[in-house]
């Protein structure tokens, strides 16, 4: 590791590369600048969510499932309610809209996760009750005194086991334990050219299997929020979230409050790395403040942060390359499995993002990918640095080394050979521009003392691309594998002008009857501002997870204008 003390800062500016494309007369880049927030950090004054003092602060702690998968037969909070310092014990019945999925904010997916589970838990640590008490110790003791009658169910903890026909079903709305994409397929497809034909023509076929375990972000600050009644009939919420608008929108939806009644303060995050986007704490903290009239803090302790807090999900990738003897990769086929854990959260979108990335920064004329968002009884997954990309990039680059070994080529030269160049068509049908992989590879070779051939040293991202390489293949093989019935398309990537009809949001899982809407929200919640449409029923026991036929597409959540970079053209 380069020693900063003796060798100076670890940044080297290569002014020789792309020199005529930019102005090097820069005011900020390359000049040391103090971070605008660092004075607060070194004086201990940066206002993390917990750095606010409230008189009469109450503490919330949850009762959690000890099982990977279990039905909840009965929850008895009576003893907990009588314990010293306890002000209130919440269960799912107290949550105004006890079913959500984070990406409903982007109109993507189905509501699948209750903030407080009522009939079933699908991962170890899933909360079923929230105790609010005068001190954290009292809340902790009372949470342990909530009595739950569990009926353990068979569980599955591996992605390929979970998609077998006889696997335990994690989410009733997805009977095969797979997220349904676009209402049509049980996986996300990428098709470009004809992979099977090209594999038949290749000199070598190189196969690889790669996987990554879940990775815990482990920030030093655990996730949490403090909510308190504020004047003007609002609630203030200090939160550790990385995604203030996600959290605001989620809280508004789950609590059936217009967002104008919420005052969110955040942006000072004690490490997030993607793990503070799920917006778990704000809704319950605010609900606690609503029901007690006092400030309520809900934060994970370290054990919860590590096990209950969502990690980067596990991934497994199978890659098959068709390679010519001279090292040109003419086909690349992916089968990928993302372990979403027990609920969807962001995994469905991670795959959209990841598939847009394939086959990596290389121009390969035939590419196909089948990528599955799989449900298991593991802790639900969420984002972490390089979200959706990191696992597949590890797999791709390891595979490139394997290909280099197969054809007897220097792995850096293999990459330069196959690298995309400006003007090339990428597998998701956009033209590559501002490519720089070749130059990066050349600098790496120089730093590592690897000698490249003159041809490789002369290669450039600016030359050799486009032309025939810039054209979409005349023929792309498509298929209907993984086609499912009974799911309607969501509004994802719908063309501009089409309205989201209620019908489009009501997938009925095949083979399940729809039930009449059950009686609506609990008595004790303050009424939200007049709703435009009747709210959906809070989950009733054994009702299929989905919505009543008159459920509107919009339900109090904030909306965003685009998903994953798709722009209305």
């Amino acid at each position: 590791m380069k020693d900063m003390t003796s060798d100076g800062p670890m940044i080297e500016f290569r002014k020789d590369l792309f020199a005529d494309e930019r102005d090097d007369d820069l005011n900020e880049i390359g000049k040391p600048v103090r971070r605008q927030d660092i004075l607060g950090h070194v004086t201990g004054r940066s206002p993390f969510f917990d750095d606010h003092l409230f008189d009469g602060l109450l503490h919330m702690r949850c009762t959690r499932s000890p099982h990977h998968h279990a039905r909840v037969r009965r929850i008895d909070t009576s003893e907990a309610e009588r314990m010293p310092g306890v002000r209130r014990v919440l269960t799912g019945r107290d949550v105004p809209a006890n079913l959500n999925t984070l990406l409903s904010l982007l109109d993507f997916g189905l509501d699948d996760e209750p903030p407080l589970a009522e009939t079933k838990t699908a991962y170890m640590g899933e909360p079923v009750a929230a105790v609010i008490a005068e001190t954290e110790a009292e809340a902790r003791a009372a949470a342990a005194a909530v009595k739950v009658e569990w009926e353990p169910l068979p569980h599955v903890l591996d992605v390929e086991e979970a998609i077998k026909p006889d696997a335990p079903n994690v989410l009733e709305i997805y009977p095969g334990n797979k997220f349904i994409y676009h209402g049509k397929y049980d996986h996300q497809k990428l098709r470009y050219g004809d992979v099977e034909k090209a594999l038949g023509e290749a000199d070598h076929v190189v196969e690889g299997r790669y996987q990554m375990s879940p990775i815990e972000q482990a920030p030093i600050e655990t996730c949490g929020a403090i909510a308190a009644p504020e004047q003007n009939d609002r609630y203030v919420c200090y939160t550790s979230t990385q995604a203030l608008f996600f959290s605001l929108g989620t809280a508004a939806k789950v609590l059936k409050l217009p967002s104008s009644r919420l005052h969110f303060i955040g942006g000072t995050v004690g490490g997030g790395f993607g793990g503070k986007v799920d917006s778990i704490h704000e809704p319950l903290a605010i609900l606690g403040a609503m029901l007690t009239g006092r400030p309520v803090k809900y934060a994970w302790d370290r054990a919860e942060e590590m096990q209950v807090g969502a990690p980067r999900g596990a991934e497994r990738w199978y890659i098959t390359d068709g390679v010519m003897a001279d090292g040109r990769i003419i086909a690349r086929k992916f089968t990928g499995y993302f372990d979403s854990g027990a609920y969807t959260r962001l995994s469905s979108y991670a795959i959209i993002k990841g598939v847009g990335h394939l086959p990596g920064p290389y121009t390969i004329p035939n590419v196909s990918a089948d990528v599955y968002c799989v449900y298991t009884n593991r802790t639900p997954a969420t984002a972490m640095r390089g979200f959706g990309i990191t696992g597949v990039d590890f797999s791709i680059e390891t595979h490139m080394d394997k290909v280099a070994e197969t054809v007897g080529m220097n792995p850096i030269e293999l990459r330069i050979l196959n690298s995309y160049r400006d003007g090339d068509m990428k597998a998701h049908r956009r033209v590559a521009k501002n490519c720089a992989l070749i130059e990066c590879a050349q600098v790496v070779a120089e730093k590592a003392g690897v000698t490249l051939s003159p041809e490789m040293r002369a290669a450039s991202s600016l030359t050799g691309g486009g032309g025939v390489r810039g054209e979409i293949p005349a023929f792309t093989a498509t298929d209907e594998q993984g086609r499912v019935e009974g799911f309607a398309a969501s509004s994802y990537a719908r063309k501009a002008g089409a309205s989201s009809s209620a019908a489009a949001r009501q997938p009925t899982p095949p083979g399940l009857q729809s039930r009449p809407a059950a009686a609506s929200a609990p008595v004790s919640t303050p009424q939200p501002a007049p709703a435009r449409t009747p709210p959906p029923p809070a989950g009733a026991p054994s009702e299929p997870v989905g919505r009543a036929p008159d459920k509107p597409a919009r339900s109090g959540a904030m909306r965003f204008s685009s998903l994953s970079g798709f722009r209305r053209r």
Binding site: M1, D3, M4, T5, M10, P32, R34, R35, D37, I38, L39, G40, H41, V42, T43, G44, R45, S46, F48, D50, D51, L53, L57, T135, A137, A218, P219, I220, E221, T222, T268, V269, G270, G271, G272, F273, D301, R302
Partner: protein, 158 residues
């Protein structure tokens, strides 16, 4: 619950507040006294975000009983600056990008200050040992080590 009065010195000033039985010094400092600079990271003694000094020696305040500091001298990160005049370590951390999210920084600074107070010219290995009880998830430690050595070698701003 019988609270006990705890009179002690915090960053050079006489303070007093009531501690709950079994309350940690960390919680007592933050909520009882109002010094929010030491942070909660684990409650297990693993991360060091709660580091303070008691009579000059670093301690993990999440593992100290609040009432045990009665009559003793506690120092936290909030006591490093003298009004607007910062400790050289604070200046060096800012110059060397030794903080990103800033959550480990108060504990890290207390450990660094305790090192330089007892050993003004540590070598790299001694700096590493001195901060080995403070976890950082953001910087990779090198900027922090560089900042501490810069002060030790007299290269930091005064």
């Amino acid at each position: 619950m019988t609270k006990s009065p705890v009179g002690f010195t915090l960053n050079g000033s006489q303070r007093a507040a009531f501690a709950d039985p079994g309350q940690s010094l960390l919680d007592f400092l933050r909520r009882g006294v109002g010094d929010l600079s030491p942070k909660f990271g684990c409650g297990q003694g693993a991360c060091g975000a709660c580091t303070v000094t008691i009579d000059g020696a670093t301690h993990l305040s999440c593992l100290v009983l609040a009432e045990s500091v009665a009559g003793r001298e506690v120092r936290t990160a909030a006591g490093l600056a003298d009004g607007a005049s910062l400790d050289p370590l604070q200046e060096a951390f800012m110059d060397h990008f030794a903080a990103q999210c800033g959550y480990c920084t108060p504990g890290m600074l207390v450990s660094a200050r305790a090192l330089l107070d007892r050993n003004p010219r540590p070598d790299r290995a001694e700096v590493i040992e001195a901060i080995s009880g403070n976890l950082c998830r953001c910087t990779g430690y090198e900027p922090i080590i560089a900042a501490i050595l810069a002060v030790a070698e007299g290269r930091a701003r005064a």
